[in-house]
């Protein structure tokens, strides 16, 4: 098991939420605004302290770690993609991608890391933007750069909070395709999304309402050409749940 959440509670936002996530799984969390989706994601990533419950990443109990230990865990074993594409304004795209890798492994030369970053950038189709400032690229390009950054330390799990939320339709499709590729390569993804088209690409969907899991839909791995049927199925399921 990659991630195990057991009776996770946070004040009045989350109420004894429990679920598991298998290795290499792509899991989406959906729900109305204020249902606690992002809170669940950030707790699972060890960015906040729950008021109750436990979380494990493989054999490591995140809830039992100190802040510094959790930071180390995030740096080495987790990756993050935010809706707002947060990056350091003082660094160019390449340096932003390198940032967590430089911090995680001081022994590796910067040249080596740069080579790895450039390889990732090529893979995600943003090669040539290395020296650009973050204000000099499009939203889609910036989000792909964020994905590159999250993949630099080869995380076991990638947390994505509305990764396509701030993007136009074509950019969103590009970013989603990249996330699927990453998942196919073996990285588990826990994603929060409002977008049905994004969620239907995941292996499984959890529906959260008022801080409780109200439904679960297992879709299995996405097979090319089945997107439309999956989307219809998810839409029906969501309607049943009162979406």
């Amino acid at each position: 098991m990659l991630l195990r959440v057991e009776k996770l509670s946070k004040d009045s936002i989350l109420h004894e939420v429990s679920f598991e996530m298998a290795e290499g799984e792509m899991l989406a969390v959906m729900g109305p605004s204020g249902s606690g989706k992002s809170t669940l994601l950030y707790h699972a990533a060890g960015m906040d302290c729950p008021s109750g419950g436990k979380i494990w990443l493989k054999d490591t109990e995140i809830t039992g770690l100190t802040e510094d230990e959790k930071a180390k865990l995030r740096l080495h074993r987790m990756g993050f993609v935010f809706q707002q594409m947060n990056m350091m304004a003082n660094l160019n795209i390449l340096d932003n991608i390198l940032l967590p890798a430089v911090w995680a492994d001081r022994k590796r030369s910067e040249a080596e890391l740069t080579e790895k970053a450039e390889r990732l950038m090529r893979k995600l189709g943003i090669s040539g933007l290395e020296k650009r400032r973050i204000t000099q690229v499009s939203g889609g390009q910036l989000q792909r750069a964020c994905i590159c950054r999250s993949m630099m330390n080869e995380p076991q799990i990638l947390f994505a909070d509305e990764p396509t939320g701030a993007l136009n339709q074509s950019a969103a499709a590009e970013v989603l395709a990249e996330l699927i590729k990453i998942n196919r390569a073996g990285t588990g993804i826990l994603m929060v999304s409002h977008d049905c088209r994004v969620a239907c690409c995941c292996d499984r969907i959890l529906y959260l309402s008022d801080g409780r899991i109200c439904g679960e839909l297992a879709l299995g791995k996405l097979v090319q050409g089945t997107e439309r049927q999956r989307e219809e199925r998810v839409n029906r399921w969501l309607t049943e749940l009162g979406w």
Partner: protein, 756 residues
């Protein structure tokens, strides 16, 4: 990576970075300068004292000397390492001409002496013992600037008619470990034995010189000079004159040259506080702006230590640059500031120790500032990644910026004001009341005459008949043994007469008005362990008489150990007498003073006395005042321009919106100019208020250490209300204009582009 982050951050925040380096540099410079000068002065005074073999206890004595009794006393006391008798030929100032300039106005006891036999050497400018040839004289180094003297000029001792009888060639200048300071009331000129005897014979013939003795003791390490002094006095040994201890000489030397260091030290503390405040505030602003980035770093797994390292590294770099600039500036400014000390004490060229000390002071200043940086960073550490990522940036009103401008302006006003007030107080004739001297217009000292009492009486009768004299007071000083509670006796120098005519400042109680009352100097009261109202027994006319301590006053003359009584036994010999005179407005002071000058009677304008005594200190203080004014103006300008710029940046959206609505850049600049000038004006006002109050207390505390208790500023309002605001506003107004210049560059369309 950190290097790139820092480089890019500096590029984007040039003004903030420059301001941070400026504050760090100024703080480091001032603290390093104060420490370097202090260590230099302390070291120089110490090494001069050592090289010169400065005595630990010295008793001046005018009159017949029982040398054998002193020798017996020295032999009986184990703590005495060495002792010697030095002769001092006290000359009549009106008969001395130095390089063509008369010393008639001098308030010092000027006299000749020969080189000490075993210790208390007078040293030349290389700190060597000069060999004085017949016909030559070595002049105190402090007179070189005072009388604009050069080697090769002459010192002439003339007769009453002004004829040049004895001429000595100035062969060099000397450092006197004991009497270097102008606060020491005597100055020694070094001549050879032959010339000394010749002048002595000449002086006796013309009644223009009187031989006195300096009974000097070198004590073993750890010996208590006060206890030794008490033992000396208890033996009834020759003591017709003030007794001075080693620590007191150190104190006098430190006071004349330490004032500038004190001002610098005070200045460095205030600037350090301003730097901490400004840098802390600038960092808080940056952290508020970068909160989301910090949150992102935390989310990525870069812990508090890493984030601290990223931000702290920049300030380490700033402190390195600021420290280096500050250290360099400190060494540049050190030379002119220590010029006087170098001349008086012969400061040795600083080697690696000076460099290390300077570096340590700089490191201390930087460390203190970095503490405030750490404090500001700690606030961010408490934030969780989520709080930092999703917190809404607070819309601040800019009150803090205005407050900072006001606070810094107030602090800078205080820094300009305090040295100014200290200068005007020390240069005011009224300051003499803290020195144990009456606040009169003219002081007449009768010290040289054979029959001091007779001469005093004669002068007093002349004053009585003189229509130009408004008031006068005659005070005779006698030496009276005081009996302590344990039966021991201590010699007190008691000034008798009506002290109420030209009163000195009393800390407690009042001056004596009846024959059984006595007032003591603060130092004497402390040493004798008596307070106002306590009885004190004096041995007068061979019998003990009980007096009541009616008051305690501040005094830094005659070693700070004096007493004032209305009357004591008139049979005791008068050591010296002083006549204080106040003239009518119609009187011509200079003419009047010339008329009264006669052998044995020094007539001094009190203003000259203050200038003579505090001349060195005032010179240094003037320099420190100028430095304070320049630096305060600079700091005010930097802080004002910085915070006005930050304010305009913060209000960028509103300014753009107002422009879009039709306001012109001129309209907006006028509004911001008024807004910026208001805290400056308020700061100046607050600074003038607090500077006059707290500055007085602070200086009073320091002056108390030196014996001048109950200190109050003499404030020259017309100067303070014009000069100080002019300095601060002169710096702040252009700074406000420069700070709001950005308003002109803000475009009306920015608000529509969402650049809030």
């Amino acid at each position: 990576m950190i290097k790139r982050l820092i480089r890019n951050d500096i590029k984007q925040n040039k003004l903030l970075s420059c301001a941070a380096v400026f504050f760090m540099a100024v703080s480091a410079m001032l603290l390093a300068l104060a420490v370097l000068l202090f260590s230099g002065l302390a070291g120089a005074i110490g090494s001069l004292a050592e090289e010169a073999g400065m005595p630990d206890y010295m008793q001046m004595h005018a009159g017949v000397l029982d040398e054998a009794a002193v020798a017996r006393f020295a032999e009986a006391h184990e703590e005495v390492r060495e002792w010697q008798l030095c002769r001092f030929l006290n000359l009549d100032n009106s008969r001395i001409t130095l390089g063509g300039r008369s010393l008639a106005d001098s308030t010092q006891d000027n006299g000749l002496c020969v080189q000490g036999e075993r210790f208390d050497y007078l040293l030349d400018e290389e700190n060597n013992r000069p060999e004085v040839l017949p016909g030559e004289v070595y002049v105190p180094v402090c007179y070189r600037n005072r009388y604009d003297l050069m080697v090769g000029e002459t010192m002439v001792l003339s007769d009453a008619g002004g004829g040049g009888d004895i001429e000595l060639l100035i062969a060099g200048f000397l450092r006197d470990a004991q009497m270097n300071s102008m606060m020491a009331s005597s100055k020694r000129f070094l001549v050879c034995e032959t010339d000394y005897e010749a002048v002595k014979a000449y002086g006796s013939a013309h009644n223009s010189a009187r031989e006195e003795y300096l009974i000097e003791f070198l004590l073993r390490d750890g010996a208590d000079t006060n206890l030794f002094g008490a033992a000396y006095a208890a033996e009834g040994l020759p003591a017709d004159g003030p007794a001075i201890t080693g620590p007191l000489i150190y104190l006098m030397n430190a006071l004349s040259d330490g004032t500038v260091i004190f001002v610098l030290f005070l200045f460095s503390i205030v600037i350090l506080a301003i730097s901490m405040l400004c840098i802390g505030f600038m960092l808080s602003l940056q952290m508020e702006r970068d909160k989301r980035e910090v949150g992102m770093l935390k989310a990525l797994g870069i812990g508090n230590t890493g984030i601290r390292r990223i931000y702290f590294a920049k300030y380490i770099l700033f402190s390195g640059c600021g420290g280096a600039v500050g250290l360099f500036a400190a060494f540049l400014l050190k030379a002119p500031l220590e010029k006087q000390m170098r001349e008086l004490y012969g400061m040795a060229e600083g080697g690696w120790q000076t460099a290390v000390l300077g570096c340590l002071a700089v490191a201390l200043a930087e460390e203190i500032i970095l503490l405030s940086v750490r404090g500001a960073l700690k606030k961010t550490e408490k934030l969780s990644a989520l709080e930092a990522l999703f917190s809404v940036q607070k819309r601040k009103t800019g009150r803090v910026q205005y407050l900072m401008i006001g606070l810094v302006t107030a602090a800078c006003t205080v820094l300009v004001l305090v040295p100014q007030n200290l200068y005007s107080t020390l240069s005011d004739p009224g300051f003499v009341t803290y020195m144990g001297i009456g606040n009169a217009e003219i002081r007449m000292d009768v010290r040289q005459a054979e029959e001091i009492d007779d001469v005093t009486g004669r002068v007093a009768r002349m004053l009585e008949r003189d229509m130009q004299v408004e008031t006068y007071a005659v005070l005779r000083t006698r030496s009276c043994p005081a009996v302590l509670a344990d039966g021991r006796t201590v010699n007190l120098t008691v000034e008798t007469g009506d002290c109420g005519i030209f009163p000195v400042s009393c800390l407690e109680g009042m001056l004596p008005k009846t024959q059984t009352e006595i007032a003591l100097s603060a130092m004497n009261a402390k040493e004798l362990g008596v307070a106002v109202g306590d009885p004190l027994r004096l041995v007068t006319g061979g019998k003990e008489t009980e007096y009541t301590v009616c008051g305690i006053y501040s005094d830094i003359t005659n070693g700070g150990k004096t007493a004032k009584a209305y009357q004591t036994d008139d049979d005791a010999p008068v050591i010296w007498s002083v006549l204080y005179v106040s003239l009518r407005e119609s009187a011509k002071k200079e003419q009047w003073m010339r008329r009264y000058r006669q052998p044995g009677v020094d007539v001094t304008d009190i203003a000259d006395y203050v200038r003579d005594t505090y001349g060195q200190t005032l010179g240094q203080l003037r320099l420190a005042s100028c430095l304070a004014a320049v630096l305060s103006a600079f700091v005010t300008a930097v802080v004002t321009v910085l915070f006005m710029r930050l304010l305009v940046n913060k209000d960028r959206y509103e300014i753009s919106l107002q422009k879009a609505l039709g306001y012109t850049a001129g309209d907006l600049k006028r509004i911001y100019f008024t807004k910026g000038l208001f805290p400056v004006a308020a700061g100046v006002f607050a600074g003038l208020f607090t500077g006059n109050l707290s500055g007085e207390r602070l200086c009073g505390t320091v002056m108390k250490i030196f014996g001048a208790d109950g200190f109050a500023f003499v404030i020259l309002w017309e100067r303070i209300l014009v000069l100080v605001p002019a300095v601060i506003l002169g710096a702040a107004v252009p700074a406000v204009i420069a700070g709001i210049a950005e308003i002109g560059r803000i475009k009306a369309c920015e608000c529509c582009m969402g650049r809030e």
